[in-house]
């Protein structure tokens, strides 16, 4: 709330000054950026957009623009910040409202603050989505539009897709968004004259947890979605058989199910969600449906929020040649606008390839027992020759692979102790420089509060072995490490966490 007031006041100051907008490379930040851009356009505020991939970039950009710009707004996903009442913030003129990543030196004395800061730095977790916060700001200024609402929904869904928030938080936030959605829908449909078909309609959907199923074939989607793949154990022969039984149980002919979703028979599509839910319950998949939102504009454009998240993430981390990071950033940002549908569709295709690569990598890792238990954690290393390993040199893609792999492992192993271990994964990042990217995720559990302690652990292990590491990512549980230092780094981690 403190932010809201601060930012509303800031808005009046901004009118005749320029703003530097430093945006981190994840979907929530992109969505928040779009909302801010729309707000700036309304008030014709000049701004400079600077994509940043980590702390170094942030530093360079700040220094570059320091001379010209007085107020600085930085945004990335909102890493958990302790309540403001406990820590005072000292805002000087140089640094402006950011969405809560850093806590500046406070002036409250006493040990309470030190404790809180220690807790804050020990665990890393995510708070409310930045795009939701900016949407609320727009709403307070009564400048909120459906486009902004949709971006806020995408930002929230990004947090869920990439497993950054707990299920409870997701459901609570969905309820908040639902209030805004009903308010917008009510505003436009209360006359008997309905809206033009080209207008954007956002609707609440209790839809299937099958990634991209409306833009793929149902069969492919089931095979490549984490939830179904893990629960059926589709990397085993038994799993494949179970899938065939599942499809037969629902009365869905294979021919239909392998076709593009839009070409399936209407009679099948009509009750698909209920039919699938019923059968899934029989096979032990209790949560096949999830609350989410969908958008609909024009005659053939329907997208679910998760579709957009996957498409934009694939564009953001595209590993095509001749594309720099900032090109990818701009392309991903563009794909969020309604006018750039081909960009979005190309993103969806890239996302499909990425998901298939993830599935195959997961299957091969499990089948060839590449996941080793190192005592306090599980460890998996993707070697250089692995197919599609280039895709996994990027943080978001590798984290997604990591999460899927852990879920799959938990479903496939019989070792009770191993099920409760966290997972660390490493993949080659830059072959010329000889570095790997290392990601650590907390153990898989129903009641996980998604707190990640690997940030500190990595730092300490690197210090104690003087390994050459780069802790540049805003997400401290993702680091870059020299390949040669791998073994000593791991040994240090094992000792640290035992």
């Amino acid at each position: 709330l403190f932010y809201m007031l601060y930012l509303t006041n800031v808005k009046h100051v901004l009118c005749f000054q320029r703003v530097a907008l430093l945006v981190a490379s994840d979907i929530d930040a992109l969505c928040a950026c779009k909302i801010l851009q729309a707000l700036f356009h309304c008030d014709q505020v000049q701004y400079t957009l600077v994509p940043v991939t980590g702390w170094q970039d942030l530093g360079t950009a700040f220094l570059e623009h320091k001379e010209q710009i007085k107020l600085l707004i930085k945004q990335d996903d909102d890493l958990g910040v302790p309540p403001y009442d406990d820590i005072f913030r000292d805002e000087d003129d140089e640094e402006g409202g950011d969405s809560g990543n850093e806590s500046d030196e406070g002036s409250e004395p006493g040990s309470g603050r030190r404790e809180i800061l220690f807790d804050y730095e020990q665990y890393e977790y995510h708070g409310t989505s930045a795009s939701m916060m900016f949407f609320e700001l727009a709403w307070v200024l009564t400048k909120d539009t459906k486009d902004m609402l949709w971006w806020a929904v995408i930002g929230l869904t990004d947090q869920w897709v990439h497993d950054k928030i707990t299920h409870m938080k997701y459901v609570t936030d969905i309820a908040t968004m639902q209030r805004h959605v009903s308010r917008h829908n009510h505003r436009n449909e209360d006359e008997e004259n309905s809206l033009s078909i080209d207008c954007m309609r956002i609707s609440f959907e209790y839809d299937l947890r099958l990634t991209l199923y409306q833009h793929w074939s149902l069969y492919e989607s089931i095979c490549n979605s984490c939830y179904t793949s893990c629960n059926f154990k589709l990397w085993t022969l038994n799993g494949q058989k179970k899938l065939q039984e599942f499809l037969a149980d629902m009365g869905l002919p294979l021919k239909q199910v392998r076709q593009k979703f839009n070409s399936m028979d209407m009679s099948i599509k009509e009750n698909l969600r209920d039919v699938i839910e019923e059968s899934s319950n029989k096979y032990g998949l209790k949560d096949i449906r999830i609350q989410t939102f969908g958008v609909h504009f024009g005659f053939k454009n329907r997208f679910l929020a998760s579709d957009m998240v996957h498409a934009t993430a694939a564009l953001l981390e595209s590993t095509e040649k001749d594309e720099s990071d900032s090109d990818n950033f701009i392309k991903a940002l563009d794909s969020l606008s309604r006018s750039n549908l081909e960009r979005l569709h190309s993103g969806i295709e890239l996302a499909k390839r990425k998901l298939m690569a993830i599935q195959q990598t997961v299957a091969s890792c499990i089948c060839t027992n590449l996941i080793l238990s190192q005592g306090p954690f599980l460890y998996c290393y993707l070697m250089e020759g692995t197919p599609d390993v280039k895709l996994f040199s990027k943080p978001i893609a590798l984290t997604l692979l990591c999460k899927y792999l852990l879920k799959a492992f938990v479903h496939s192993t019989r070792n009770k102790r191993c099920k409760l271990l966290p997972l660390i994964m490493a993949a080659p990042k830059d072959v010329e420089k000889g570095t790997v990217i290392v990601v650590g995720i907390p153990p898989e559990s129903e009641t996980s509060d998604k707190k990640n302690f690997f940030g500190r652990a990595f730092e300490k292990a690197a210090e104690s072995t003087s390994s050459r590491t780069l802790h540049d990512n805003f997400d401290t549980s993702i680091i870059e490490l020299k390949t040669d230092d791998r073994s000593k780094f791991l040994d240090a981690l094992i000792t640290l966490l035992s």
């Binding site: 356009h41 309304c42 008030d43 014709q44 009564t142 400048k143 539009t145 436009n188 006359e191 004259n193 309905s194 809206l195 033009s196 078909i197 080209d198 207008c199």
Partner: protein, 186 residues
């Protein structure tokens, strides 16, 4: 003349908006506008209305003629008559396109209106083509067409002038010695 120039001229037409901000009278070269008070309708040129709408500072009120029943009547009238019927606004086509592109959420039954206006346009253009055809083939010297809008004239202008030029060339070639190959082409 290019159709974008015609659209530019169309943007000078006045349309009613309901602003959500307040501003005193503004004095522009083309005339005075305002004052703007939230919730009170005010007449502004289309170019300003669209700019304000995109910045979410106003709501556009569709002009009186942009109504489904009125447009249906006009369409029937147009289809019955052989000549051109009076138009709702000298820039009806451009205004429809601009307003429906940027402000379709403020205009009820936007899709039907778009179809109706297109029907009216098609009928008129068909009549225009017939008329141009008979003008050229019957070598008439002058014609009078009432109630045409600038956009419609612009559509046929290039074709009509070029074909008349061609006819002239052909006719002059039929009469030897009258003029030998000195024509000015526009």
């Amino acid at each position: 003349m290019d159709s974008s120039e015609v659209e530019f001229l169309a943007e000078k037409e006045m349309v009613k908006i309901i602003p959500n901000f307040s501003l005193d009278r503004i004095y522009l070269i083309g005339g005075d506008l305002g004052p703007f008070n939230p919730g009170l309708p005010v007449d502004v040129p289309v170019w300003l209305a669209l700019n304000l709408k995109q910045r979410q500072k106003c709501r556009i009120v569709p002009p009186a003629w942009m109504d489904v029943e009125k447009l249906e009547e006009m369409r029937e009238l147009e289809r019955k008559e052989d000549t051109f019927t009076p138009v709702p606004s000298p820039y009806y086509m451009e205004l429809t396109k601009l307003l429906l592109n940027y402000a379709s959420d403020n205009i009820p039954k936007a899709d039907e209106i778009r179809t109706l206006v297109k029907d009216i346009w098609d009928t008129r253009i068909a009549k225009l083509r017939l008329s141009a055809d008979s003008f050229i083939s019957q070598l008439e010297a002058h014609a009078k067409l009432d109630n045409l809008t600038l956009m419609e004239i612009n559509t046929i202008r290039a074709f009509l002038l070029d074909s008349l030029n061609c006819m002239y060339k052909l006719r002059s070639n039929l009469q030897p010695g009258s003029s030998k190959g000195q024509f000015t082409d526009y």
